[in-house]
Every structure is written in structure tokens, then in C-alpha cells.
């Protein structure tokens, strides 16, 4: 018994030493990932894991420009209906099978046809994929789709081994095989996901870790404690309230990037009977509500100034932001005047909020601010599934929700603001806006698209089906011995050129 104990002690001591020599990176995540299949996955942390596991056709720069990854170059046909992509040579999947045009075709078809696929809407515009050379594909679209390249910079563009996918079917997630810098080793639900370096990686020179372990640690305080005690080397989504203490700690590093997403209040305008109320019917009330809020103060009070106040689906730092409509300053007098114009001295509005302490705190600040302009805000705290059900069924007056954000601007606006938009819970419907947003989809010219979005903003800024509040910032805390990390607005952790010093 005693001997065994000693042996175990020795064993653990030796493993400790050996892991110290091997470069093992341990990353603390806020949640556990869902299925590890890019075609089936739906969680943010899942995408973080894929970034190390699965390469994509294209990637983005921190400034949201599309750059080559597995595709080395691409061109659009004049009518915008054919995308020709040239593929990287000498890339193999983790199972040794080669990456080529056939693999791309198989992958896109899997995204379109796998019954379990969550990517269907993202690759909807693709009609067919032709293998036009061993390392060249022609992607034929039903209609021009400016958003497609950006989709290829995310899960829809992740390439899995067709052989492995064929063999595993919908169970691919139990043992994912891709072509990224790290390959899958093991996963224990709610405990860890372990990846190890893939020696055959096309860009192996930029990778400096032997293994990467992702550990879901839901509590933010505990995640930071793990970093401080050296149990992990970096963490994602540091609480904004911990920023000051991390910045002041010489042993820790810090990185941030304003996200692509937003948080706001969706107003029920035409979703069922409940949309037929003054708040949904009279845009002046919504304008008054928006004016009653001090977005800077919300950011200071709740997020210690770490987030970005906002009033549009894109953050003020985005190239798509319409500078003609800057974040409005608080104007209680004007809000009161608008309220009066609409026929009210005070107005009752019920806002549902997901039962998350930070969102609840934020909405209580909103509640207090709006009260000064005459809004009597009643908060209704709900768990997310109930909230979502009520919201999609139209059983709400206003609802505090957010959107994680997409690389292409279309993803942040089209499905929310068009009459038939899939997640238009407000059921706002304006044919003029529909026409503008549809048109913005078809052009590959940035300037043309921007003009359409700006024109739509002129209308939407008045109608306010969603009262935008702020844009979260991705915040990472790192061990001081880690260097070379670059923050990206998509919140992903790219490990190229990151190393222990």
C-alpha cells in the first residue's frame, strides 16, 4: 500500500517534470465545446478549438481582410456567380490523406447535405462545386453572394478529411480529422480537450507547442486564479472587472479586440399580437428610449470602460460603421419631449433579460437611466430557453439579446432587418430596407456595399427595431512567459508564432 503510494508520487513527479520540458500550452475556456464537427458545431468555444485543429479555405486579418489559408488565391467571374479557388500544394490531413480539389468538393457537399449540418444556410448560395484541376475548384452560385468568402473564413470553410468523414458519418465529432496545426488526441466532457502537434502541417515552422489542452473553467474568478497559480497559460473572456488587476500584474500579459458582435434591445414591432403596442407602433417612443441612455456610462459602470459603446450592428471601429450616425449622446430633455409628442408623460415597458448576472446588472443600469426620462422599465429575468421561445413566438414587448457577430456585415444585419429574415424576432418589415440589404449582398465592391448599408442605416436609425447598446470586447489574459499572441476581432486563438519565451 505504502509502496504503491510512493510509486504514484514518483510517477506524478516525473510526469510533472516531463510536461515542463515539453511545450504544453493550457488554455482556459469559459464553456465546454459542443460536438467537435465543424459542420455540426454551434458554440463559440468549439470554434476556438477548431482554430488549432482545422484549417480553413481562407482566413482573416485582424482588420477583417480575407487572406489565403488552404486556398492560395481566388477570383470571381464577372457576373459574380463563379468563384474559382486555387489550393495549397502539399497539404495532408491528420490521417495522411491528401488535401486537394476533390476534398474541397466533398467538404462543401457535406456542409450542404449532411442531415445534421448547421452550415446549410451559410453555403445556401452554392449550386455546385466543380473540380477544375487537381488543386483548383470552381464554385458555382445560384446568385451573386458577397458573403461567401467570409463564410469560408469560418466553419463553412473548415476542411475535414473526406475519408474520415465518410467513415464516421455524423459521429465524426468523436474523433475529428482535419488538416490544422494540431491533431485530436482525446476529450473528456466538461474537463478537457487535448490536441498534439501535427508534424505534417504545411506551416509547421510557425508552431511552437507540442500539445495544446483546452480546459473549460466556467467561473471567471476561478479561471483567473488558475492563470495566477500557473495551472493554465492563457484564458479567454476575462471579466471586464478584472482587467485593471491583470494589467497591473507584471507576471501576466493582456490582449483585447473589439468583437464583431453587439448587444442591444430587440423591440417587438410586428411579431404577433404583442407587437401591437405603443412601443412597437410608435418609433418616437423607441427613439426616446434610446436617447435616455448614456451608453458611455453603461460601459463605464458595468464593463469598466473595456467594451465599445455602440448604436449600429457594426462597432464604431469597423469599416462598415456609418459615421453619419455616431453613438448618440444622452439627451433626457429630448427624450422627454419625444415621449410627450407621442402622448405620454410616463410609459411602462417590459423588457426580458437572460438570467446572467452581467446582463441583469447592465439592464438595471438601463432601467435607472430610462426612468429619468419617464420610462417605467419592468425587467423580467428568464432562463435562456424560455426567453428564446418567447422571443421567436412574439410573446414579448422588448428583449435584451445580442449577436456574436460575423465577419461579413451581411451576417449582422440582413437576417434581422429583412421582412423574411430568419431571426427577425422583431418582425420589422420595410420593403425599402429589404431592397437595400438584398442589393448589398450581390456586389463584391466594398464601396457599393457600404453605400447600401449606409442608406439602410438612415432608415433604421429612425425606426430602431433593435436599440443597439454596446459591442463586447474579447479580452485575453496570458501568462507572462507567453509571447507572440495576436488578438483578432473574431475572438479566436491563433497559435501561429505564439511561444513560451
Amino acid at each position: 500500500m505504502r509502496k504503491e503510494f510512493l510509486a504514484a508520487l514518483l510517477l506524478s513527479a516525473t510526469t510533472l517534470v516531463s510536461t515542463a520540458h515539453a511545450a504544453d500550452l493550457r488554455i482556459g475556456l469559459q464553456d465546454d465545446a459542443d460536438v467537435l464537427d465543424p459542420d455540426q458545431s454551434r458554440t463559440f468555444v468549439g470554434r476556438i478549438v477548431y482554430t488549432s485543429l482545422c484549417d480553413k479555405l481562407v482566413d482573416i486579418t485582424p482588420d477583417l481582410e480575407i487572406i489565403p489559408q488552404l486556398a492560395t488565391g481566388w477570383s470571381w467571374s464577372d457576373d459574380g456567380r463563379v468563384l474559382t479557388m486555387d489550393l495549397r500544394e502539399g497539404v495532408t490531413f491528420h490521417d495522411g490523406t491528401p488535401f486537394n480539389a476533390e476534398a474541397v468538393k466533398a467538404n462543401i457537399e457535406r456542409s450542404k447535405n449532411l442531415p445534421e449540418s448547421r452550415r446549410k444556410s451559410e453555403v445556401k448560395s452554392i449550386e455546385s462545386v466543380e473540380v477544375s484541376g487537381p488543386l483548383q475548384v470552381r464554385i458555382n452560385l445560384a446568385a451573386p453572394d458577397a458573403t461567401l468568402l467570409a463564410q469560408f473564413a469560418d466553419r463553412a470553410g473548415m476542411m475535414v478529411s473526406p475519408a474520415a468523414a465518410e467513415a464516421a458519418g455524423a459521429d465524426f465529432g468523436a474523433n475529428p480529422v482535419c488538416s490544422g496545426p494540431f491533431k485530436f488526441v482525446e476529450r473528456v466532457q466538461q474537463d478537457r480537450i487535448v490536441l498534439s502537434k501535427f508534424d505534417g502541417y504545411w506551416n509547421a515552422g510557425a508552431i511552437h507547442f507540442d500539445t495544446v489542452t483546452f480546459l473549460p473553467i466556467p467561473d471567471t474568478t476561478v479561471r483567473l486564479a488558475n492563470l495566477r497559480s500557473g495551472d493554465i497559460d492563457m484564458l479567454e473572456r476575462l471579466a471586464a472587472t478584472d482587467v485593471a488587476s491583470v494589467k497591473g500584474d507584471a507576471n501576466l500579459g493582456y490582449a483585447e479586440a473589439v468583437s464583431l458582435g453587439y448587444q442591444g434591445i430587440t423591440v417587438n414591432i410586428g411579431n404577433g399580437e404583442k407587437g401591437d403596442n405603443p412601443f412597437g407602433n410608435d418609433a418616437r417612443l423607441r427613439q426616446a428610449f434610446s436617447l435616455s441612455l448614456d451608453r458611455d456610462a453603461i460601459n463605464q459602470v458595468v464593463f469598466e470602460g473595456a467594451f465599445a459603446p455602440g448604436n449600429q450592428p457594426f462597432p464604431p471601429t469597423s469599416p462598415w460603421y456609418d459615421k453619419d450616425h455616431p453613438v448618440p449622446a444622452r439627451d433626457v430633455e429630448k427624450a422627454k419631449a419625444l415621449l410627450k409628442e407621442a402622448g405620454y408623460d410616463s410609459f411602462d415597458v417590459e423588457v426580458q433579460v437572460a438570467n446572467n448576472p452581467v446582463q441583469t446588472q447592465m439592464m438595471q443600469v438601463v432601467q435607472a437611466m430610462a426612468a429619468e426620462a419617464g420610462f417605467n422599465v419592468k425587467l423580467k429575468s428568464m432562463e435562456f430557453a424560455s426567453l428564446l421561445a418567447d422571443q421567436s413566438a412574439g410573446n414579448y414587448q422588448a428583449s435584451q439579446v445580442g449577436w456574436s457577430g460575423r465577419v461579413d456585415p451581411d451576417g449582422n444585419i440582413h437576417q434581422f432587418m429583412t421582412c423574411k429574415g430568419g431571426i427577425n424576432d422583431s418582425k420589422y418589415c420595410n420593403p425599402e430596407v429589404d431592397a437595400l440589404l438584398d442589393a448589398a449582398r450581390t456586389s463584391n465592391e466594398l464601396a457599393t456595399r457600404k453605400a447600401k448599408y449606409d442608406e439602410a442605416r438612415d432608415i433604421l436609425n429612425n425606426d430602431l427595431p433593435i436599440i443597439y447598446l454596446y459591442h463586447p470586447t474579447w479580452i485575453w489574459a496570458l501568462s507572462g512567459k507567453l509571447e507572440g499572441f495576436t488578438p483578432y476581432p473574431d475572438g479566436m486563438i491563433r497559435l501561429e508564432n505564439v511561444k513560451f519565451n
Binding site: T220, V301, P357, T360, Q361, A368, K380, S381, M382, S386
Partner: protein, 292 residues
């Protein structure tokens, strides 16, 4: 081992044990302290509207998460509200949640436990198995279901907490009944033809009292804390209305930045539970027929 608890004699019945118990209770210093603590909190809960304190919902962006000071004796919370005034206003919801839900649990649980243990047989089986089923049902599901059907209100929250705390009282009571009902004096009472109800009330209930009292005074703490998780699911008090439980819940996110946010509600819950426990101890001693 024969005459474990054979002291409930007819002679004692006639000297009105309540008055004797009352005297004993008054003589116990710790019981009086317990009473004083509980009375204090009930006092401030009732007096909240007339006390000269800040509005518990009044926010101030310039004093977010400030440590205790001369202006804000207990400090301020995450959106700059005065914690002292939120503690005082929150006392009402928390005490209600703590006391009423425990009363529900006791008033429903103890009779079922009595019947289950005393009659045994199929009645016992039915009650016990329903208790098992209730125990196994996750509180969360019950709470979300009630929130959806009844909507947010403190009363509904108290019902939910009471229901979920009930099985423990059924089990406790039943266990005590089982151990007492084979005693000679109970068998004797039955032999002389005393009605079941009378036997239960006179000979069995007094023996159930001690553990139930202890458990009830302990459950007050759990119930106060449970109220917060219910508000969170949309069942109890809704923000910005304060309660100690929800104040604690929020404080969890500011443990290192604003530790005082957790101190006060934590201390208040501790004191209330201490008060109830001391009072319970006094009652227990006072009602114990063996105590002289």
C-alpha cells in the same frame, strides 16, 4: 433499554405544560438572545419604509462598488446603490422566503410523516415513494415550470422552496415515529382504545418535535439562499427589488474587487439563522417533557 421515554405521564398533562414551557423559555438566556436577533430583523423588515435611509433602487454612477464609508455605511453595490438600504429592504423578502417556505414544508411534511410512520403498510409505501419521487425531481425543473405557469412573485417562490424542502421533514418525522410507536406507553395507549389521532397528538408528536425544530431552523438558511436562484429564473423578486440571496448572488462576481458586497448579506443570513437556532434550542429544551 426498556423505558426510554416513559415520562409523559398524565399528572404532567394537568399542570399545563405550556405555561411551564414559557417560563423555561424566558429563563433561557440564549433563547432570549435568539429571540432578540430574530425580532431585530423582523423589526427592520417591517420598519423599512419609515426608516431614514436611501432609496434601495437609487443608483449613482459615481459611487459604483465603493467600500464602506461615512456616507454609505456598508458600501455600495455594482451599480452604485446603498447596500445598507438594500439590506434593510431586502430583509422583508428574505425573511418571508426563509420563514414562510419552511412553515409550508413543516406544515405539509410533518403530518404526512406522522401518518406514514404511524399507520405503516400501504399508506407508508405510497407516501414514502412519492417522497422519493419528489426528492429525485430536480429543483430547477420545478422552479422553471412554476415560473412559467405562475409568473414572478414572492409567494410563488415560497411555495416552490417549501415544496422542495418538504420531503426531508416527511422522512425525519417518519423515522422518529417508527422509533416511538413500539414503545410501551404507545402500545398501552392503543390497548386502552385511545383514538389514533389522540395517540399521535399526545404521545408521538412531542417526540418528533426536537429533530423537526432543529431541521426547520437550519432550513431557514437554505431557503433564504434558494430565493435568489428563483429570482434568477424569473420566479421570485425581480430586479431591482433587493433580497439578501440575490445580493449574495451578484457579489459572487465581485469577490476580489468588492468583497464587502458578499460580507453583509452573508453576515445577515448567518445572524438570522443563529437567532432561529438559539430560539429553537430554547424551545426544544422548554418543550422537552423530561427537562425539569
Amino acid at each position: 433499554m426498556s423505558a426510554v421515554i416513559s415520562t409523559v405521564e398524565p399528572a404532567e398533562e394537568t399542570v399545563r405544560p405550556e405555561s411551564r414551557a414559557w417560563k423555561k423559555l424566558k429563563a433561557s438566556k440564549s433563547a432570549l438572545l435568539g429571540f432578540a436577533i430574530v425580532a431585530f430583523f423582523i423589526g427592520i423588515a417591517v420598519a423599512a419604509p419609515i426608516l431614514p435611509i436611501a432609496d434601495p433602487a437609487a443608483t449613482s454612477w459615481s459611487v459604483v462598488r465603493k467600500a464602506p464609508s461615512a456616507v454609505h455605511w456598508l458600501g455600495t453595490d455594482e451599480i452604485g446603490r446603498d447596500i445598507l438600504s438594500r439590506m434593510i429592504w431586502g430583509a422583508q423578502a428574505s425573511l418571508m422566503a426563509g420563514v414562510v417556505s419552511v412553515l409550508i414544508a413543516v406544515l405539509v411534511g410533518v403530518p404526512f410523516g406522522l401518518i406514514s410512520g404511524y399507520f405503516g403498510g400501504w399508506i407508508d409505501q405510497v407516501i414514502s415513494r412519492i417522497t422519493d419521487a419528489l426528492l429525485a425531481t430536480p429543483f430547477l425543473i420545478l422552479a422553471i415550470a412554476l415560473a412559467a405557469f405562475l409568473g414572478p412573485s414572492l409567494t410563488n417562490a415560497m411555495i416552490a422552496i417549501g415544496l422542495s424542502a418538504m420531503p426531508i421533514f416527511v422522512r425525519l418525522t417518519r423515522g422518529q415515529v417508527l422509533s416511538v410507536k413500539t414503545e410501551d406507553y404507545v402500545e398501552g395507549a392503543r390497548a386502552v382504545g385511545l383514538a389514533h389521532f389522540a395517540i399521535m397528538a399526545r404521545y408521538i408528536l412531542p417526540n418528533v418535535f426536537a429533530p423537526v425544530l432543529v431541521q426547520a431552523t437550519l432550513t431557514v438558511a437554505t431557503a433564504i439562499i434558494a430565493e435568489a436562484s428563483l429570482s434568477f429564473l424569473g420566479l421570485g423578486q425581480q430586479p431591482p427589488a433587493p433580497s439578501w440571496g440575490s445580493m449574495l448572488n451578484v457579489a459572487k462576481n465581485f469577490m476580489t474587487q468588492a468583497p464587502w458586497m458578499a460580507w453583509w448579506p452573508g453576515a445577515a443570513i448567518f445572524l438570522v439563522v443563529l437567532g432561529f437556532n438559539l430560539l429553537g434550542d430554547g424551545l426544544r429544551d422548554a418543550l422537552d417533557p423530561r427537562e425539569t
